[in-house]
Structure formats: structure tokens, C-alpha cells
Amino acid sequence: MFGFLLRRFAVLIPTFIGVSIIAFSFIRLLPGDPVALLSGERVMSPERHAQISAQLGLDRPVVIQYFDYLGGVVTGDFGSSIVSKTPILDQFLALFPATVELSLCAIILAVLIGIPAGVIAAIKRGSIFDQSLMGIALVGYSMPIFWWGLLLIILFSGILQWTPVSGRISLMFFFPPVTGFMLIDSLLSGQKGAFMSALSHLALPSIVLATIPLAVIARQTRSAMLEVLSEDYVRTARAKGLSPFRVVGIHALRNAMIPVITTIGLQIGVMLAGAILTETIFSWPGIGKWMVDSVFRRDYPVIQGGLLLIAAIIMFVNLIVDLLYGLINPRIRH
């Protein structure tokens, strides 16, 4: 097991270096001069241009810039935003809980609905339930998040007025963040109605963000389940006279879960990408929205640092999934 762990870590290092090169090159590969772009129609004097280039560190050889940057990153210094002038890591840490809260809710929703739906579809293979479920899953998977989010807002917030349009909590509640998780903070605040408000704000974005993973998980569970259900040991279990619930719930599901867990792990990456759109639509102050805003503000250090941090998280999650997978399926370790 230890050797397996070590091998996994060893792969991470070149991957991280690769990602850092991509994140670093991003701003430099953009066509045109990033400094000139900052001033737009206004003509910038050459002195001013030189001054800003120096500020951004763009006046030095690229290789030196890169190693400087990498040196900073290793020691936890991701640089500062050229716009707000605050350290990138601080901003990231302040906004990250919002994204985690949303993603967790979404993944829980996706798992709680996706797995049972996939199992039932597999058992009732070919039935109307199965066909319509897989049809819906396909639609859900292909739905552009932006459009889907707006559609839900118009229906549930606009026409039915069941949920608030956007944000994390009603503006009437005002308390300092403790954990950064609004559901917990609203309980801690002790303000009446705060928790319900946070919950109702979380509903629509969670559904939107959960849609694609839910579809994928349901489809994956169904096919894994179908495969397992045709195995000899399932037939044996049935022949032994075990209740259908035990056969499916205990014997089959457990084995079918192996590929599903990998899928769930992979969905975390998909989710961070989805969060960028979902957070923008729902004005959810997380890292996805932060990245989008930074692109619009041409805040290159933030885009660079944010990309790297997000990539690091996805890598970390994948590592955990790999380890988990190794635990469930001993054959993988070798």
C-alpha cells in the first residue's frame, strides 16, 4: 500500500509542474501586449508602460519569471491581485468555502438521486421507467448550465416565487462569517429564519450544479449494475433463495459501486468547471465567479494563481479517489 501511495505522489509532481507551466504561459500566450490591453483606447505613455510592465514582472526574461513564480508558489506565495492588491491565496481561502458548500450539496443531491435511479433502471431494464429515466439523463447531461439555470430562475423565482433569485442568503441577515459555510454560519448566528433563508438560496444552484453529475452517475450506476446482475454469483445468491433486496442491495450494489466511485471522483473536476457558470448565474460568491470576474478585469495574476489552485484541488481529489479505489479493489494496488 505504501509503495502504491508513493507511486501516486510521484506522478503528481510532473503533473503539477505541467499545470504550472500552462497556467503561467496563459497570460504570456495571449495575443498582444497585456499591458497595452489594460489601457484600452487611452494611449499609454512609454514610461507608464514600462512602469506597469515592471510591476507585473513582465520586463524580465520569461524563464526567470517562471522560476520566480514557482519559487513563490512552493512557499505559498501566489502573488497579489493587480486590481484589489490583496494576496491571491487569501482571496481564494475566503471564497473557497462557498464553492465547497455548493459543490457538496450538489454532489450529495446527485448521489442520493442518481444511484437509486440507476439501480431501479437496471432492475427494470427496458421498462418505461428505464427508458424515460435514461432519456431524461441524456437531456440533463446535454443541458447548457447557463440556460438551465436561467430557466429554473424564471420558473421558480420569477413565476412561482418559491425561491430567491440569487445570492447566498437574504440581505436582511447580516453576520460575520465564522466557518465560511453559510448553512453553519446561519445556525451559529442564532438569527431567526437565517438558516431557512440560506437553505432556500442553496436550492436552485445545487440543482443546477448537480444536474450533469446526476445524469452521469445514474447512467454509470445503471450499466455497472446491469453488468453485475448478470454475474454468476448473483444467480447463485438468487438460487440460494435470498430476498431480492439482499441480492441487489448487498451483493450486487457493492460491486457495482467500484466504477461509480471513480465516476463520482471525476465529477468533482466537472463540478468545479460547472461552478464557474453556476456561480456566475446565481451570483454565488465562490471561486468560480471569482475566476470569471478576474477574466473580465484582466487580473492576470489572479487567473494564473486561481488556475493553479483549482488544478491542484482536482489533482488532490483524484488522488483521494485513486486511494479509495485501491482500498475497495485490492487488485489495483499492484
Binding site: K85, I153, G158, W162, S166, G167, P177, M196, S283, W290
Partner: protein
């Protein structure tokens, strides 16, 4: 789940209306997060709306709804004979905000003014680089470091600013957000505590609202400043709910989650107009889009040729196709909301036959030219290629062959400056200080040839008028010169002016007292919510 949501919604609306009745809270669905709260460091309107306008005041202020500067924190001012020495008498009894993090011990005085401006132009000032990487973008952009010779405190309530040369737009510049007056006492306190950067995060000013708190990318909260020198605001609390997506802002406005929003989607405007719970305001923005000929190259060095081409441009068609009506055709280089706008100037009406004849009379045949179209969408021109195609189509009808060219944006800006540029370039401008000088001299003056003056047009008569207008401090006299300059401009036609885009502001019916600013600012000191 459904029941819970309904319950939550009910609870929410109950709390919303309950507190709305006791304390008036005005919610503005703003379009983005502020970059910081010290306006001098920034250039974005979004930042100014969240910092300079609610929190601070300036020596001069723009009269609501106009681009005219009037005395603000300065009770009165005097300008010497040659226009180089400005003496400001400060308004007595102006209080800085008392907040949870700062209690002022004194009222506004000359120290605050000197401190606020000096730090922006003097690189040696201890507060010039109080946050690493600070650049005083606007002060530099308006030429303050070269323009201002000295800023002196004459006595506690008098400040004298000496310029290196006469510059009439200087008063308007002082009304701009970057020239906001911060508290020196607060800055001193922060310096003593070693927390200088807080000046940009927890601001203290003399404006209509005091700062309560900011949750990054989510909410900014302000409280009414009951001691505001311009009269206490009518609302108690001001909240900015940061909502970056325009369609979502609209839904929030409809649902009553906010009272007013900026920048709607063009596609939504019609539905907004038919919504009985909303009022829609509209006004020309402080901008212009233009097509600048290279007036140094044949045959575009001939006025008749430029005039003929101008008559072949269907501005109405461009405005309809590109803006879906959210713009007006432009006849002058400055927008109609700006003082000195000359409405008497006659437009070169769209007339292909006349244009064709004018070209023939000028002896131009088989003309082929390039038109540069920006690769990006700008507020004054959403789709340059589409506009260029419409022009191309019309020019073909008068026998002029057009090739549309484009470059990557930074490249485009740079190459279009070249004096020997081949072709007419499409570009535009969004004004800074509402002063005509900021359009007419900045974009068309002889000094700007090879830079902002993309027409490479140096006309003695025009240049004399706009240069002279800089040295006069009387606004009426200046207006006369600018009106004349617009006549010369139209006669000489260095550009085809294309459009001024409209700024559209949807708000709830119950909102009163909101005045649309031609400068594009969103200010709420006079708003109220009708019961």
C-alpha cells in the same frame, strides 16, 4: 422540499417587508465587485459607484444629471487672471463618518485636501505606495503630476493649487471620483497602527453614506450619513447586491429583490417596458463611435471626398442592426448630454445619389479603401464588423470598394495610431470628466496626431478654438468656442460620427428621486422608496 421552500420564501418576504417598513433599505443590484474603496487607485465605474459616490465627496461636484462641475466641499473658489492659481475656500462644519472602526475628532480641513491629492502626484509621498503596486491611474491619465506645480494649505480652511499652465477642465477634473477627499486623521491612525492598507478596505469619507461592510463578490452595505453636508439621504440603508449576470439582475428586479439595476440586456428591454412594476429611464451615454479617415492620405485629404463618404453611411441602419435601438445616431463628436453640444450643426443626411455625385465632382473614380473594424465589442460599438459590413454595402452602391480589415485588439489600437495608416479606422471614446475638452482636444487636437487623433487631422482653426478654450475659466465663454469647434469639425469631416450608445436604467415603480447621470454614475443620495 417544496413545502420547505414555500415556507422559506414566505419567511423571507415577511422579513423583507417587515424591515422595509421600519427602516428604508434600498437595494441596488450592481454589476460587479469593486476593486477597492480608495477611488484614486482605480478607473472602473463599478468601483466608483461603490466607493467615490456613496462614501466620499470632492472639492467640486457634478450637478446631478449634468456634466457641469459646481462647488462641493469647496464652498467657493477663485481662479487668478492667467488661470494658473486656484484658491478653494472649504465648507465649514463638514463631518467625516463615525463608524465602528473610526471616530473622527475633528471636521474636514485643508490637511485632508492636501493629503488626498498630494499622495497621488508625488512619488515620494509616504502614502504614494501604501499598498504595493499602487498606481494612481486617473491622476496620471489626466496629467496631474505634470500639470500641478504645488498644493498648499493657506490656512485651516483654504487650499491653494498652482498649475504649470492654464487648464480650464481642471475644475471638472476635481469633480471626478479619483479626486475624492479622504480623512488624513484616519490615515494617520492607520499608519500608527501599521494597517495602512485598511484605507482601501474600510473607507471613511464625508459622503452621503458611511461604509458598514463588504463581503467579497457578494454584498456591500452602507448606512445613511445623517450629518451629510448636502442634506441627509432619505433612505436608511443602502445595499449593493453584486449580481454579474444581466438576465439574473432583471429577475431580481422583477421579484422585488432589488430596486434598481444597471446595464440590462438589449433583448430584455422590451419586456421591461411592458412590465407595470418597472420604470425605464434612458439617456445617451458619454460616448461616441466614429470612423476616422486618414486625412493625410489621398484622396481622403480632400474634404469633398470625406463629406461624400459620410453621406453614404446609413447610421440609422447601423444603430438598428447593432444596438437594436439602444443607441442614437451621432452628428457631433460629443454626446448631446454634454454642455456646449451644438444642436444647430447640420447632419450630412444619408443620400446615396448625392454622395455619388459629390465623388464624381471631386474627380474620384474606382476608389477602393480599407475600413478597420475592432475585433472586440465596446460600449459605444457592440459589433464593429457588422457596422463595417453595412458601410461596405452602401459604399459599394456609390462605386467605392471596401475591404474590411481587423487585428487583434492591442495590435489594432497600436497600429491605428500610425500616421501612414492605410484606411479608415473605426473606434470610439468614453468620456472621463464630462468636459468637452476631453473629447475635442483629446481626440482631435493637433497634439494628439500619431496618438489618440486617429484621423491624423490637424486643422489650425479647430485647434486654435479648443486650445483657447482651455485657458478660459468662464464656462459660457468656453461653450461658445466649443460650439464653433463643432461647426468646423462638421465642415471638415475628419470622422464619420456613428453613434452614441444609450444608457438604460430599469427600476421599480416605487423608486423616486433617482437622477440618471450623463457620466454613467449611479448615485443614491436623493433616492427614496414610495410607501
Amino acid at each position: 422540499m417544496k413545502h420547505k421552500l414555500v415556507l422559506a420564501a414566505a419567511l423571507l418576504s415577511a422579513t423583507f417587508f417587515a424591515s422595509a417598513a421600519s427602516a428604508k433599505t434600498f437595494v441596488y443590484c450592481s454589476e460587479g465587485s469593486p476593486e477597492g474603496f480608495d477611488p484614486g487607485m482605480y478607473t472602473a465605474g463599478t468601483t466608483f459607484d461603490a466607493s467615490a459616490h456613496p462614501i466620499y465627496s470632492r472639492l467640486m461636484e457634478f450637478k446631478p444629471g449634468t456634466t457641469e462641475a459646481e462647488a462641493g466641499l469647496a464652498e467657493s473658489y477663485e481662479v487668478n487672471e492667467d488661470g494658473t492659481v486656484y484658491t478653494f475656500k472649504l465648507r465649514p462644519g463638514v463631518k467625516f463618518h463615525t463608524t465602528e472602526f473610526f471616530t473622527p475628532s475633528r471636521e474636514l480641513n485643508a490637511d485632508d485636501v492636501v493629503f488626498s491629492l498630494e499622495r497621488q502626484i508625488n512619488a515620494e509621498h509616504p502614502w504614494n505606495q501604501y499598498v504595493a503596486g499602487t498606481s494612481w491611474e486617473y491622476a496620471a491619465g489626466m496629467g496631474f503630476p505634470e500639470l500641478i506645480k504645488s498644493i498648499e494649505k493657506v490656512d485651516d480652511m483654504t487650499v491653494k493649487i498652482t498649475l504649470n499652465r492654464p487648464e480650464a477642465p481642471f475644475l471638472a477634473n476635481l469633480a471626478m471620483p479619483f479626486a475624492s477627499i479622504v480623512s488624513k486623521e484616519y490615515a494617520d491612525k492607520l499608519e500608527a497602527e501599521g494597517k495602512k492598507e485598511q484605507l482601501n478596505q474600510m473607507p471613511v469619507g464625508t459622503g452621503p453614506f458611511s461604509f458598514v461592510g463588504y463581503q467579497q463578490d457578494a454584498v456591500i452595505r452602507y448606512k445613511k450619513n445623517a450629518d451629510y453636508w448636502g442634506g441627509a439621504p432619505k433612505i436608511d440603508d443602502l445595499v449593493f447586491a453584486i449580481t454579474t449576470d444581466a438576465a439574473v439582475r432583471y429577475q431580481k428586479l422583477k421579484a422585488g429583490e432589488c430596486h434598481l439595476m444597471p446595464f440590462p440586456n438589449a433583448a430584455d428591454v422590451e419586456a421591461m417596458r411592458s412590465d407595470e412594476s418597472l420604470t425605464i429611464l434612458e439617456q445617451e451615454g458619454l460616448n461616441v463611435a466614429y470612423l476616422a479617415y486618414n486625412t493625410t492620405q489621398a484622396p481622403f485629404d480632400k474634404v469633398e471626398v470625406r463629406k461624400a463618404l459620410n453621406k453614404a453611411i446609413n447610421k440609422r441602419a447601423i444603430v438598428d442592426a447593432v444596438f437594436q435601438g439602444m443607441a442614437t445616431p451621432a452628428k457631433n463628436p460629443i454626446p448631446p448630454t454634454m454642455w456646449s453640444y451644438n444642436d444647430a450643426v447640420e447632419e450630412d443626411e444619408y443620400d446615396l445619389e448625392a454622395a455619388k455625385k459629390m465623388l464624381q465632382d471631386a474627380g474620384v473614380e474606382n476608389l477602393s479603401m480599407k475600413i478597420w473594424a475592432m475585433p472586440v465589442s465596446r460600449p459605444y460599438m457592440l459589433n464593429a464588423r457588422r457596422a463595417a459590413e453595412i458601410i461596405q454595402d452602401d459604399f459599394a452602391k456609390i462605386g467605392v470598394d471596401v475591404e474590411i480589415v481587423s487585428y487583434e485588439w492591442a495590435e489594432y489600437l497600436d497600429r491605428s495610431k500610425a500616421k501612414d495608416r492605410d484606411g479608415a479606422v473605426m473606434l470610439g471614446w468614453t468620456g472621463d470628466n464630462g468636459d468637452p475638452d476631453n473629447f475635442l482636444d483629446t481626440l482631435l487636437g493637433c497634439n494628439a496626431v500619431g496618438g489618440n487623433n486617429r484621423a491624423q487631422w490637424c486643422n489650425e482653426e479647430f485647434n486654435e478654438l479648443v486650445t483657447k478654450a482651455k485657458t478660459i475659466s468662464d464656462q459660457d465663454e468656453r461653450a461658445k468656442l466649443y460650439e464653433q469647434a463643432q461647426v468646423v469639425f462638421k465642415r471638415e469631416a475628419p470622422w464619420a460620427t456613428i453613434d452614441h450608445s444609450l444608457s438604460i436604467v430599469p427600476m421599480r415603480k416605487e423608486v423616486t428621486g433617482f437622477v440618471q447621470s450623463p457620466l454613467g454614475d449611479f448615485t443614491f443620495e436623493n433616492v427614496d422608496i414610495a410607501e
